[in-house]
Amino acid sequence: MKVIIGLIVLWPLVGFLFNGLGRNIWSKKTVATQATMYILASFVFSLIAFWNLQEHGAMTVHYFDFINTSKFKIPFDFKVDALSSLFLLVITGVGTLIHLYSTAYMKDEEAPHYARYFAYLNLFIFSMLLLVLGDNYVIMFIGWEGVGLCSYLLIGYWFTNANFNYAAKKAFIMNRIGDLGFLLAIFWLIVKLGTVSYGEVLTVESLAKLSAADITGITLLLFVGAMGKSAQIPLFTWLPDAMAGPTPVSALIHAATMVTAGIYMITRSNILFSASDFTQSFIAIIGISTTLLAATIAIKQNDIKKVLAYSTVSQLGYMFLGLGVGAYSGAVFHVITHAFFKALLFLGAGSVIHAMHHEQDIQKMGGLKSKLPITHITFLIGCIAIAGMPPFSGFFSKDEILAAAYEKNPIYWFLGVLGAAMTAFYMFRLYASTFLGKFRGTSEQANHLHESPLAMTLPLIILAVLSAVAGAIGIPEIMGGSHWLSHQLSTIVAAPHKASLTHSTEWILMAVSVSVALVALVIAIFIYGKKADAEPKTAVGKFLYNKWYIDELYNNVIVNPLNRFAGFLKDIIENVVIDGAVNGTGKLVQYSARQIRLVQSGQVGYYILFMVLGIILLFVCWFNDINIMRFFFKLTQK
């Protein structure tokens, strides 16, 4: 098993090296086949690991010591348990589909860049697997920064475009802010517990060693890390910009996998988080606020990928709401269903963009229903799933979170339902503008409209099926289900969520949220079925269209002042004050030197000469009588 688990991670690394080093050698076909096969191999091995888990239970395997000093040890261990194995399957499964899709989507790239693309994609999967398989926070952190790097490289994949580079850099730096929080949390754990291994940190004994302040501090810092990676307020603005990368990248990294790393991290540490009410409430509030903020922005965006990006931010907010109210398995459930339907939606968007020759503005689309039948149907399924319509997968996972939120505080539930209504609205606004009505693009585009090749439609179909049926893994008791997922996770999530709501309340909550969303959905189709949204005219419309001016706010309040501060340090403090003082001293010496220039010419050579002579003189003194010097020193000491 040790080898198999190791290979899950190593296959993508092999792929990275193979494609990266051989980028000038291999044909595109070789690259595509290899890259996809390595991920598929990881998927197969993940299945074996999953099956083994069901048979023999969780296991930890040790490879070597990453850091081993006399004071502490960070082993390079992997852990396969219920939580990591689920993530493994999602990452490698969705990853394989997206690799397959990419082989066709990226086919116009030149061979070396095509190979570079797949090398990055493989490296991403490698890092992501490291993140979820690691048995301690440091290994998680390695993967954590690794996925950040890959995200950076892929957002800036078309590196000759300055705007894309800027977006890539922004993503990395915002993530780094989060990473700093994560790192500090790791140090805090090391100081208090002397270890970062899950098996030793996440125990009742360890909890007892930590004060309440420690737990709140550590969990808040960990959450700061999650904010960065999972794009929560205030560190979310990088994600919409990350859409500069190729569309399959958005599907894989900025929707299905990497951005859920924060949820993984908190679920993994749920024992700590459950011990701090303050952190819990904080997460819930940030989560629900992010959900609503992003949803309002999504309503007014006209770029097909931007809508999906804000929708991702919003859905991640739901997951954090779930974590904040203690519905850990609900959050993981939503991670899984979201991975399916959001990957589907992004890939569908990619198929549309592909057909439209890189047009992303939904105002210029419309009526694509008949031209792209497979894309249309699968995209529709994705929309229904994300809107939370039963019996599609999104309904079950969202409902579980909302029910738990209601239990904690009905206000959370109310805001959650509001968010769900907005979700249904903007998703069907997107759907209607893209697929319904009349085609609004150029006639040239109209002539070239075509359904995508099988390599692209096959992943769409598979993901559509999964989006439709994946709810089956978590059918709640009141519907006669057994909730397979929460049983799976029962070993990880310390206090399984107990339903104290009566069945009738639960049915009512469900009915309310579904019907509200349904109404929003119908209104959206009604409004946008015929014509697309125009440029916003009202103040509110402009405010939302411009994303609440948050980027401008950050630039004016944080980025520019810091830049000016750096300029002040460089131009005034460094060049005038400090260097001025140094040079001033030098000038003073030179001035004195000029006054006694009979002796000294001001040239360094003479200085050296005199210094050497002086030293020799001192030596001569000692040779004759050491006590002279000692006497001298004794004098100075008195």
Binding site: Y152, N165, I173, R176, L569
Partner: protein, 471 residues
């Protein structure tokens, strides 16, 4: 064995004075430095050795060379750096190259001596021996402003050294057996005021050499104006002299004074880390950017040293080596770009990834090491060092931690401006770098990742130093 590490570069330096042919001089210099490297590798993998012969008997100063883990790791860094630098810069056209190379090898002799000396007077001797050839290298082959800059650099560091010399003599007079040996120095009887005085005298020398804020202003100028081969020596190896001095001399000799001063020094180091990082953000000259980035990294090491925490010290010991390798890689790339395009201004660059993808990949590799990405060597050191700062004071760790964000900003700015974007006029004339330079970069990058993934050999190498310091 130890003696050979000094003799080979020294003999080579003398031979080189007489080889006027450029090619022959290059080959001689490189082969002698490679020979030194092979001997150093033998030393690194064998047990600790030492040489002890009388040197200046009247003074009771001995020619004492010792190689513990600390010395070995720096010896290794020196021995790796020199051939790497010489190979990577073979194609650089310089007047009287053989003299240049000779002075380089004199520098290597001095540096090697600094790291091996177990006798204070000998230490001081090598300390200055390393500086003098560098003075000539900068003032003869440097850039336009070389005279003024070298003057400042030389006077600044020389002044620092004089303080140390006074400190050495002061300690010497207080040793029970009137000896310069480090062991005797440890037994010097000092009142706490005297200890503090001696501490300050030594510290000034080391602080200027590292350099610690606000004593750093000689460095960016010197790095910018020196010929790049010398800049590489300065930043990869020579700045380590200051840090080495602190570990070898300052902390063991004056433990009480070090403890008293630690809060002040850590604070000022951390201020320096942030200060240098902010300034790096605003640089347009690649060399100055790397210089400020290096000041920030050294500042972090200085802060971690003075926490006097075992984990932090382990981090510093590893980072001494890693920082040298990483900064060397960055310099080599910067040098290739400057040699070919004639500019270091990032405004005028851009598009390297399109024009010379291999060089761009190598460049980005070192840039990632510069921001201490996990699985690069710098992560290991920084992780341990931040850890010790956190133990010292979480807020200090937080403040210093901001530098990891700032490092990402300035490093990625540099990557963006140099490697990405449309191909600029300057970059468009670039040829593939010479294959030797490229090979050096590849080897260094392998070291970066290998020691980032499996740092254990570095830990093992330095274990004995750690034990001596903390047991």
């Amino acid at each position: 064995m130890l003696l050979f590490t000094l003799l080979i570069p020294f003999i080579a330096a003398i031979i080189l004075l007489f080889i006027k042919n450029n090619k022959a001089a290059n080959i001689t210099a490189i082969s002698f430095s490679a020979l030194t490297l092979s001997i150093v590798l033998c030393i690194v993998f064998t047990k600790t050795t030492s040489i002890d012969v009388a040197w200046l008997p009247q003074l009771n100063s001995r020619f004492l060379l010792q190689a513990d883990g600390l010395a070995k790791i720096l010896l290794l860094l020196t021995a790796v750096s020199f051939p790497a630098i010489l190979i990577a810069t073979t194609s650089n056209q310089l007047k009287n190259k053989h003299i240049f190379l000779s002075l380089m090898l004199f520098t290597q002799t001095g540096l090697t001596g600094v790291f091996l000396a177990g006798d204070a007077l000998l230490f001081y001797f090598f300390w200055e021996l390393a500086l003098i050839p560098v003075y000539f290298l900068c003032s003869i082959w440097g850039g336009e402003k070389r005279i003024a800059v070298t003057f400042k650099f030389f006077i600044y560091t020389f002044l620092g050294s004089l303080f140390m010399l006074i400190g050495i003599i002061f300690l010497y007079t207080n040793t029970p057996d009137h000896s310069f040996a480090i062991e005797s120095f440890k037994h010097a009887t000092l009142t706490s005021a005297q200890q503090m005085t001696a501490f300050v005298l030594f510290f000034i020398a080391f602080a200027i050499k590292m350099p610690i804020f606000p004593l750093h202003t000689w460095q960016p100028d010197a790095y910018e104006q020196s010929p790049t081969a010398v800049t590489m020596v300065l930043s990869a190896v020579m700045v380590k002299m200051g840090l080495y001095g602190v570990i070898r001399w300052l902390l063991p000799l004056f433990p009480a004074a070090a403890k008293t001063a630690s809060i002040f020094i850590i604070d000022i180091s951390v201020v320096g880390v942030l200060y240098a990082s902010f300034i790096a953000i605003r640089q347009d000259d690649m060399k100055r950017l790397i210089a400020y980035s290096s000041i920030a990294h050294i500042g972090l090491m200085s802060a971690a040293l003075f926490t006097q925490n075992e984990i932090g010290m382990q981090g510093v010991l590893v980072q001494l080596f890693s920082h040298g390798i990483n900064v060397l890689g960055l310099w080599i790339v910067a040098d290739i770009i400057e040699q070919q395009t004639g500019t270091r201004s990032m405004k005028a660059l851009g598009g390297l990834a399109k024009k010379q993808p291999t060089l761009a990949i190598l460049f980005i590799g070192f840039a990632l090491a510069n921001i201490a990405l996990p699985l690069t060597n710098a992560f290991i050191g920084e992780f341990l060092m931040f850890n010790s700062l956190f133990q010292f004071n979480p807020w200090v760790a937080f403040a210093a931690g901001i530098s990891i964000v700032l490092a990402a900003i300035y490093t990625l700015n540099m990557v963006q401006k140099v490697a990405y974007g449309a191909v600029s006029e300057k970059i468009s004339i670039m040829q593939a770098p010479n294959k030797y330079a490229q090979a050096v970069l590849i080897v260094l990058l392998i070291v970066v990742f290998f020691s980032g993934i499996y740092p254990q050999p570095l830990f093992n190498l330095t274990a004995d130093t750690l034990q001596n310091l903390f047991c």
